[in-house]
């Protein structure tokens, strides 16, 4: 009688329970790792070889340009000319070295440059306070960063003659300073504004809902460059003759509103992912709708959309380069101005300038992405199951 027949006719009762056993040991060693991860099949192997070949071609090229053939010292473009140096020239870092102050502050008066420096330090302090999750009294950190710091920063950068700080017109601000100011205003304004717009778009009140939909769709439907030109050229035409808006503030507002429309849609995605029962349960506990949103719905919704928020912020940061087109001396524009310096006319200089800009933007965006990844892992660990 076969075993299967036995089951059918006789039934089955286990006599001893099986105790848990460890899993079979995996094949160890680096060779086994290479085989399973890089050369598991011939297509895997082909892809591995192709990627290695590309790296073997690109990495030396990049290293030669950035390091080995680079010129590190010099006082003019002469130092970066191959015929002067006597070998092919990669990056002309001497150029960046000499222009570094201009790249950082633009035309901000040299005697007052301690003010942007203090501004950077205050910003780093506030940002560090907020970004370090284990920091003490983070609520105070938020109050500092969102209320105290903007006032301080304005007084510090624009000047406050009453305090002995000479006024510095925004037209003189430039470089990294302007890029940081524009991005920070965009980031700080777009997140709360985006949350409000997202909530408004889901409001029960049609007036609010349609106003928010209209706002979001308008700003999403217009290219940023158009917004910036409108802010720069058209806005003064609409305002009464004696009222002017600062040339730096105009694109700032444009960017903040533009980014908030995108942020609103990201946040709305998160809100839609939260089951209705969460709101219902919060209301049943006696919380008001505002309390329920703040304590129950938004924390969960924002957690879901951390990748989307960071994506939007990275986009916003890179989009700030467009203000250079409407005459704001941001990092890209001062870099352009610096490389047009006839004293530094050498074939290697433009390439150096763009490589430096690429490294600069990449470092910051990659930092944001890494930090977001860290936050995501932290949040995921928070509700490990």
């Amino acid at each position: 009688m076969s075993r299967a027949d036995g089951f059918l006719t006789e039934g089955y009762v286990r006599k001893t329970l099986i105790p848990p056993a460890p899993p079979p040991r995996r094949l160890g060693g680096p060779l086994a790792w290479v085989r399973t991860n890089l050369f598991a099949s011939w297509t895997d192997g082909l892809v591995t070889v192709l990627i290695l070949a590309a790296l073997a071609w690109l990495v030396p090229l990049a290293l030669r340009f950035l390091v080995f053939d680079a010129v590190w010292t010099g006082t003019s473009g002469e130092a970066c000319r191959p015929e002067v140096v006597g070998h092919p020239v990669g990056a002309c870092w001497a150029f960046i070295g000499e222009k570094i102050n201009y790249l950082a502050y633009g035309s901000y008066p040299a005697a007052e440059r301690w003010r942007p420096n203090l501004f950077f330090a205050l910003l780093a302090f506030g940002a560090g306070w907020m970004l370090w999750l284990g920091a003490p009294k983070r609520a105070w950190g938020a109050a500092y960063l969102f209320v105290v710091f903007p006032v301080l920063a304005y007084a510090l950068l624009a000047g406050m003659p009453a305090l002995g700080l000479v006024s510095v017109a925004t037209g003189l601000w430039g470089g990294l300073l302007v890029t940081v100011v524009v991005s920070m205003v965009g980031i700080v304004a777009s997140l709360p504004l985006g949350i409000l717009l997202a909530l408004g778009r889901r409001s029960d009140w049609p007036v609010v809902r349609y106003a928010c939909i209209g706002f979001i769709e308008f700003w999403r439907g217009v290219p940023l460059i158009t917004v910036l030109f409108m802010a720069n050229v058209m806005l003064p035409l609409f305002l009464p003759g004696d009222l002017t808006v600062d040339r730096l503030v105009r694109p700032l507002v444009g960017i903040a509103l533009f980014a908030s429309a995108y942020m609103a849609e990201v946040v709305r995605g998160g809100l839609q992912a939260i089951p209705e029962g969460q709101m219902r349960a919060a209301l049943a506990l006696g919380l008001t709708k505002t309390q329920a949103l703040r304590a129950v719905v938004l924390p969960q919704a924002l957690k879901i959309v951390v990748p989307g928020i960071v994506n939007t912020l990275i986009g916003l940061f890179k989009d700030t380069t467009l203000v250079s087109i409407v005459g704001i001396a941001d990092f890209i524009r001062v870099l352009e101005a610096a490389r047009a310096d006839p004293r530094w006319s050498a074939p290697a200089v433009p390439a150096t300038a763009y490589a430096f800009a690429a490294l600069f933007y990449f470092a910051i965006c990659f930092g944001m992405a890494r930090y977001a990844g860290f936050i995501e892992r932290r949040l995921a660990a928070g509700d490990a199951r």
Binding site: A284, L285, G286, L287, T288, Q300
Partner: protein, 251 residues
């Protein structure tokens, strides 16, 4: 049924209540008075309006005509009345609806902190007391997702109890549970009923209804079809719809 002299208003009172979802008539001429300390089981086929009925009690569902009075407050659509009622009514849902981003303890202290404005220590003590009552004090620092379904539902009960409510509403509290966890939740409900909490429970657990309920309400098509004491309800159902329903679910 109730003999607390200071609280002589009924816990819940429906008078001629009608409600619609769009054009669907979901509650039809509901008249129902629930005394203090009474345990009421509401049953009926799905879509009969049971959940809508108990959601109307704390204003999660708005009614368009008639009067609903809860603990002496008339739900007139004003935020003030709704807040007053919600602060006095605890609710437990079929899907638990615990807040997954908060610990068990934080789930329980949310309403005491935000609604009753207790201090942090008072709120914690209160929450720990009610968690102990549902035998989950040792899970206070866990996240809801780490608990079994039955444990989650008991946390939801503790969370509602932290309002120190005059009325507890249960919307099919065991329907989403694995069979082996149903009993622990029913035991908690039985304990609450025995302790004199006013309790309205939508459930298909007929054994529980027979053992614990003071009265059983049978609903169908948005209306109350029959109200009876459990023995009479199960042994001598009078309305043909009740008879049909009972014969279907009791076999």
């Amino acid at each position: 049924m109730t003999d607390t002299p200071a609280q002589n208003t009924p816990a819940v009172e429906f008078a001629g209540v009608d409600a619609w979802f769009g054009t669907t008539h979901v509650l039809r001429d509901i008249d129902l008075t629930v005394a203090r300390s009474e345990t009421l089981v509401i049953c009926g086929p799905s879509g009969s309006g049971k959940s809508t009925l108990i959601r109307a009690i704390n204003g999660l569902v708005a009614h368009q005509s008639g009067t609903i009075r809860v603990a002496g407050f008339t739900l007139d659509g004003s935020a003030k009345a709704t807040d007053a009622v919600r602060a006095r009514v605890g609710m437990v849902f079929q899907q638990f609806n615990l807040f997954p981003h908060l610990t068990v303890l934080e789930n329980c202290t949310l309403a005491p902190l935000h609604v009753r404005r207790l201090g942090l220590n008072a709120a914690r003590d209160l929450a720990m007391g009610h968690l102990a009552r549902v035998q989950l004090a040792d899970k206070a620092d866990r996240r809801p997702a780490e608990l079994s379904g039955g444990q989650q539902q008991r946390v939801a009960i503790a969370r509602a109890l932290c309002l120190e409510p005059e009325v507890m509403l249960f919307d099919e509290p065991t329907s989403a549970l694995d069979p082996e966890m149903v009993q622990e939740v029913l035991d908690t409900l039985t304990e609450l009923a025995g302790a004199g909490t006013t309790l309205l429970c939508v459930t298909h657990e007929m054994g529980f209804a027979r053992a614990v309920a003071d009265r059983v309400v049978f609903m169908d098509e948005g209306q109350i079809v029959e109200i009876a004491a459990p023995d009479a309800f199960f042994d001598r159902p009078r309305h043909p719809r009740t008879q049909g329903f009972l014969s279907r679910i009791l076999g």
